[in-house]
């Protein structure tokens, strides 16, 4: 006949969040063994176990706790090979009663996260947060101090009415001339090389048409450019 009382106190500390979990286990057992032969016995075991668990952040809003109780009754034959007994059948008569209970604050079974939980994590990880913040700030500062090259150009055009004629066409023609000046070959090569040659030739013919008005033969293009640039 064996009787035992065992107590187990288990404290687990989670360093990352600063939480502490404790578990208290109380176990009482009573067993009897009847040796039928040298190698064969009948066994009866009764176990009563109570487990109480508490978890949470006990320093500011208490602990959440729970406990459960189990009763186990075993009856079965065992056979001996060597020193340790071998069970012939795993609990021939096996009876277990488990009664879970939850005793939690606010009658809830969930451990809710409080704002202070997050604050605690922030305090624990303040170094990492500061490092990430500094890296972002340094990257933004370097990007601001050494930006890629950017250029800005500004053009002011003055369009004057052509008083020599009376038609609106002259005014529009003058505007075309001014715009065309900006599109002279040199300016085109500086500003953009994507201008298509067909567009350029049409502008040239327009220039020739405007500047050759009143003439029987159109002015050569070189003369038109010369007139453009004054």
């Amino acid at each position: 006949v064996n009787a035992g009382l065992n107590y187990l106190h288990d404290t687990t500390t989670e360093e990352s969040v600063g939480a502490e979990f404790t578990q208290d286990t109380f176990d009482a057992s009573l067993s009897a063994r009847y040796l039928v032969t040298r190698r064969f016995s009948l066994n009866a075991t009764y176990n009563f176990t109570t487990v109480a668990t508490s978890a949470g952040f006990s320093d500011y809003y208490g602990t959440a706790s729970s406990w459960e109780q189990s009763t186990r009754f075993e009856l079965g034959p065992r056979i001996f090979f060597g020193i340790r007994p071998l069970r012939l059948a795993d609990s021939v008569y096996y009876y277990q009663l488990r009664s879970p209970y939850q005793l939690l604050m606010n009658d809830t079974s969930e451990v809710k996260l409080h704002f202070l939980d997050y604050w605690r994590v922030i305090k624990l990880r303040v170094g990492l947060i500061a490092l990430a913040f500094l890296l972002i700030m340094i990257t933004a500062g370097c990007d601001d101090l050494f930006p890629p090259a950017q250029y800005l150009s500004k053009v002011t055009m003055e369009v004057k009415p052509d008083n020599s004629g009376t038609h609106q066409r002259h005014l529009s023609g003058a505007a075309v001339v001014v715009v065309s000046i900006l599109s002279c070959p040199d300016a085109v090569s500086r500003s953009s090389r994507k201008t298509k040659s067909s567009t350029q030739s049409s502008r040239n013919s327009k220039l020739q048409e405007v500047w050759s008005k009143g003439r029987t033969t159109p002015l050569p293009l070189q003369n038109v450019y010369r007139s453009c640039w004054g």
């Binding site: 009787a3 035992g4 009382l5 065992n6 187990l8 106190h9 288990d10 404290t11 687990t12 360093e15």
Partner: protein, 51 residues
């Protein structure tokens, strides 16, 4: 730290007290687990007189 105390009550009775306190293996590297185990056990052996 472990202590074992065994007291023999009679020819067929033994009372023992076991205690262990210390760190044990935890589930993750960020955990620290400290465990206290203590227990009292009593054993009584009896034999039928077959004669």
């Amino acid at each position: 730290m472990e202590t074992v105390l065994v007291y023999r009550l009679g020819r067929a009775s033994v009372l023992s007290w076991n205690t262990r306190f210390g760190f044990e293996e935890s589930a993750s590297p960020t955990q620290e687990r400290q465990v206290l185990r203590t227990g009292v056990n009593f054993s009584q052996a009896s034999a039928l007189d077959l004669t």
